[in-house]
């Protein structure tokens, strides 16, 4: 510090030094004059004596200012030169560090911005999701409207409680009618979240009353899409056939509850709907009172639930509540995945560091004599240490800069890839913490890989080095390097096990039969507004017309309709009564998914009829109601019996439905989930007026998406204001359902592949170096009659032993670590012996192959030449 001050106060420093030297000069002149010289002669003599004063000042200046800077500069210059002379070494080192630092920075960015950063709402720590909870289920349950309003009236721990429900609507007063991702929300939702509109206003507290004028708040994106003009405020949008006034636009950064949400509409319920306790369809969030703790809230909510259960036993018996911090609710499921990626990236960086430490150790040995000469010439240990560390610093700095440069596009990729997979991924962007992390990681790597070689080299014994020849490196160094190799191989095997397990999971997932044929299937969703299609008859008429038109289009092989798209996971579930089946007192009620299908759907989807018959044109309103059940239903409610001809009914309805057919289970909920009981009914016989939607599925002769215009046209011909949504192919739906497993498997394969490559380079490098170091010894062995094969085997055995230690250690650690990836595995256990064995085999084999080349060198050795050379 003193020096820096001195450096910057350099003008004063110069002035003082000059004054001091002036006094010096004058003192000498006085002396000379006292000895009898004339003042002129004395002055001339003194000046001659003194020499160049400016030069002296400069030299003194350097002493202060550049003592340390200068050394650093020289060290860095020297490091540059050394590295430039070893471009391959430098490139391998910099690239492996850059990959490690880049990968870690990107994942750190995601972890920081998704998991750690608080939600972009006001005082987000006080926000909680409040769910219904049943003892017999782990899943959080939605809440009925009546329960929600009772919670709101009775809770004191929550300052406010708000409900919302996903409720897409048709927007029709625009050029191309479309489906809007709308949320029905209680009017206080925005104040609960602590956010305000960017333009206009959010809802007033009373705007969710039944008689209040219909209003809508737009997302920034939808507002842009509709022209982005502030004039839009006050204009009406026709939503599901009735007008709603735009009152506000949210900021672009506002997301609730999902990024896809485009508009928010008040939840204006009729008195009848308000008092419904059976239909549980609302999600609830609450803002905690500043005085209350989460525990208070949980206790209070459960007291309220108990009170409601006592008052309304028919609907509320067995229901309690669960509260979860909103942040946890949003990102909790992603945490293991992201942390797993972070650990994997950290392992890769560690492997790169171990590898570099290894290479540097090898080089510091090769440079042992250079270093010895330096210290003999007066360089202190500290100076040598600093010099070697400077080299590591240069490598790491380049690695860090390149790594950061890779992280910049990497973050973009992460955001793109994360959309739809990782909650809050739209918030991921390059920021200062990531840059700081990259810098920190860079210096951390210097400490990890640079310190050991630098300490080692600066400690080396001077006389031993000076006296030694090229063969004379101490054995303890080789042990250190052997240990580093074992660590590298061990870390690599952990990554390989993880990637093996995830890869195997993905392959199993991919080969899981879906239960239907997914190729060449165009899908789109049609949701009919009640205003246009109030009755079942009108709805079914529309669905039938669409089907007839689409089936006539050229290139269409088959078409069918089903109320919920397969593989997507929507599964409206109803309570049924099965004739002759009485659940025992404590058993859950008979519940089954209800799916309406058109005639020809099963055939189009290639779902075979196991027993009974398919629906036909004779199954229509007025004929005997029929159903087809799946195997899960048959097994649970008709075990060991033929279900065909048995009867069941929706619990709230009067009429009995006769089971006409049996079909196998389909992966309706996604590949990883086993389907539960399902009842298929024909659209033409549906009595559920709310079931006003369908997924139109079209099997096409060519690329399905090329049929979008013609199918869309056919629908427009029937009703030009009817929008379609979720246009895509079933292949896409399937592929999307595997996106996370695919992502995990592919990123781990890349990381593990790099780890394998780096550690194999390390294994190879160590033996190359060992052969060079033990050249004399090996030559003597050969000269004394050992066959080259024996010597090669000796070397191979020693190297493979280290690899073996590493593999064993790595697999041992992996055995305990794999349970952290268990939640991502499918069809394979975390300790799958096949994977563990395969990893061991891959590492041992590839190490062996890498070792062959250096071991082979023994065969080309000329012992006599080697001995003469000494």
């Amino acid at each position: 510090m003193k020096r820096i001050l001195r450096y910057f106060g350099s003008r004063r420093f110069e002035r003082e030094l000059k004054a001091e030297m002036q006094s010096h000069l004058e003192e000498r002149i006085d002396d000379l004059v006292e000895r009898g010289l004339t003042p002129q002669a004395a002055r001339a003599e003194a000046l001659r004596h003194f020499g160049n004063r400016t030069h002296i000042v400069e030299e003194c200046h350097e002493k202060w200012a550049f003592g340390w800077l200068d050394e650093l500069g020289r060290n860095l210059r020297f490091a540059f030169r050394t590295l430039a002379r070893n471009p391959v070494f430098a490139a391998v080192a910099i690239l492996s560090l850059a990959l490690g630092i880049g990968a870690n920075s990107v994942i750190f960015g995601a972890v920081d911005q998704v998991l750690l950063r608080s939600l972009p709402y006001g005082q987000p720590g006080n926000l909680f999701a409040v769910w219904g909870h049943r003892a017999d289920s782990q899943e959080p349950m939605q809440v009925s409207a009546a329960d929600f309003y009772d919670w709101r009236a009775q809770s004191h721990a929550f300052e406010s409680l708000s409900a919302y429900s996903n409720w897409p609507m048709n927007l029709t007063n625009v050029e191309d009618p479309r489906r809007l991702e709308t949320q029905l929300v209680s009017a206080n939702l925005f104040s609960t979240l602590g956010v305000n509109a960017q333009i206009g206003r959010v809802f007033r507290p009373d705007e969710d009353q039944e008689q209040s004028a219909p209003v809508v708040v737009l997302s920034h994106r939808l507002w842009q899409e509709l022209g982005g003009s502030p004039d839009l405020i006050g204009r009406p949008l026709t939503l599901n056939g009735s007008p709603a006034t735009v009152v506000g636009v949210m900021p672009a950064s506002f997301v609730f509850p999902v990024p896809e949400t485009e508009a928010w509409v008040p939840l204006s319920l009729s008195a009848k709907n308000r008092s419904n306790r059976e239909g549980r369809w609302l999600s609830v969030i609450g803002r905690l009172n500043s005085g209350a703790s989460a525990r208070d809230a949980a206790t209070e909510m459960n007291l309220i639930a108990d009170r409601l259960a006592a008052a309304y036993p028919a609907s509320n018996t067995g229901w309690s509540t669960a509260i979860v911090p909103l942040h946890e609710q949003l990102v909790g499921k992603t945490r293991p995945f992201l942390l797993m990626l972070q650990v994997a990236a950290a392992l890769l960086l560690l492997i790169a560091c171990a590898n570099l430490a290894n290479l540097l150790l090898a080089r510091s040995t090769a440079r042992a004599r250079e270093i010895a000469v330096r210290s003999a010439l007066g360089a202190s240990r500290a100076q040598i240490f600093r010099q070697l560390l400077a080299e590591s610093l240069v490598l790491a700095t380049f690695g860090g800069i390149l790594g950061f440069a890779l992280a910049v596009p990497g973050i973009e990729v992460a955001r793109k890839f994360g959309s739809g997979l990782i909650p809050r991924s739209s918030e991921i962007h390059m920021n200062l913490p990531i840059a700081c992390f990259a810098i920190g990681a860079t210096f951390a790597t210097v400490l990890i890989f640079g310190l050991l070689p630098a300490i080692h080299a600066s400690r080396s014994d001077l006389t031993a080095q000076m006296g030694s020849t090229s063969r004379g490196t101490p054995r303890h160094l080789e042990r250190k390097r052997g240990l580093l190799i074992a660590i590298e191989v061990g870390l690599a095997s952990i990554l390989l096990v993880a990637s093996g397990l995830l890869g195997e999971s993905f392959l199993r997932l991919q080969s899981t039969p879906t239960g239907l044929r997914v190729d060449h299937l165009l899908t789109m969703r049609l949701t009919l507004p009640k205003s246009h299609y109030p009755t079942n008859a009108s709805q079914n008429n529309f669905f039938d017309q669409v089907l007839a038109r689409v089936r006539d289009l050229p290139g269409v092989l088959a078409a069918g309709e089903i109320s919920d798209t397969p593989l997507k996971g929507n599964n409206p579930t109803l309570e049924f009564a099965v004739e002759g089946f009485t659940p025992r007192p404590n058993d859950p009620p008979v519940q089954a998914g209800l799916r309406a299908i058109s005639t020809g759907y099963l055939q189009m989807a290639r779902i075979p009829i196991l027993k009974g018959r398919d629906f036909g044109s004779e199954d229509r309103s007025g004929t005997v109601p029929v159903a087809i059940i799946n195997q899960a239903m048959a097994l649970r409610y008709f075990p060991g019996a033929n279900p065909i001809g048995k009867r069941l009914r929706v619990k709230d309805e009067e009429h009995w439905i006769t089971i006409a057919g049996l079909v196998p289970d389909v992966k309706h909920m996604g590949l990883t989930e086993q389907e539960g009981p399902v009842v298929y009914i024909p659209y033409q016989q549906k009595t559920q007026n709310w079931l006003a939607w369908t997924t139109l599925m079209v099997r096409t002769a060519g690329e399905p998406l090329s049929f979008v215009p013609s199918v869309r046209g056919a629908i427009r011909d029937i009703d030009k204001s009817q929008p379609v949504s979720e246009v895509g192919t079933l292949d896409e739906v399937l592929s999307k359902s595997m996106a996370i497993p695919r992502f995990a498997a592919s990123i781990f394969t890349i990381l593990a592949g790099l780890a394998l490559l780096i550690s194999i380079i390390g294994v190879y490098g160590l033996l190359v170096y060992t052969v060079a170091r033990r050249f004399m010894e090996l030559s003597i062995r050969l000269a004394l009659g050992a066959s080259p094969m024996q010597v090669s085997l000796l070397l191979l055995r020693q190297s493979m032993f280290r690899v073996l230690i590493g593999v064993a250690g790595g697999l041992f650690i992996a055995w305990f670590m794999t349970r952290y990836v268990q939640s991502m595995l499918f069809g394979v256990g975390p300790h799958d012996p096949f994977i563990f064995a395969a990893v061991a085999l891959v590492l041992l084999l590839s190490s062996f192959v890498a070792l062959l080349a250096p071991a082979w060198r023994v065969f080309r050795m000329d012992p006599s030449a080697a001995l003469r050379a000494e």
Binding site: R3, A19, S23, H24, E26, E27, F50, I56, C60
Partner: protein
């Protein structure tokens, strides 16, 4: 980082001589040069060109401290003083000096040892 050798002094010895000169009393730059010249029986000469850089180095090491004062001729000068660390350093240097001289003597004049 050895000093450039100027004149008849071995590298590094000038600092040692300065420390030795300052052992008895605090002196200013010119007085140090004079003292070295006179005390060595006019054999050694501390050139200003190396004296001042050497003094700076001693300041950096913390072996001497400097204060502005007045010379006997009433001139404003910087007066250098040995610090405790400087005293220790001087002892170290003297020990290694003794060994060096002994070694040199044995080699240069084997008969006399």
């Amino acid at each position: 980082m050895g000093e450039k050798s100027r004149g008849e002094l071995l590298p590094g010895t000038l600092e040692m001589l300065i420390l030795a000169t300052l052992r008895l009393e605090a002196l200013h730059g010119y007085a140090i040069a004079q003292r070295i010249h006179v005390n060595s029986g006019n054999l050694l000469r501390a050139e200003e060109g190396s004296l001042y850089p050497a003094l700076q180095r001693l300041l950096i090491e913390g072996w001497v401290s400097a204060e502005w004062g007045v010379s006997s001729r009433n001139r404003r000068v910087r007066i250098y003083k040995l610090t405790a660390a400087g005293r220790k350093q001087l002892e170290r240097e003297m020990k290694s000096m003794d060994r060096l001289i002994e070694g040199l003597t044995r080699i240069m004049r084997p008969a006399e040892s």
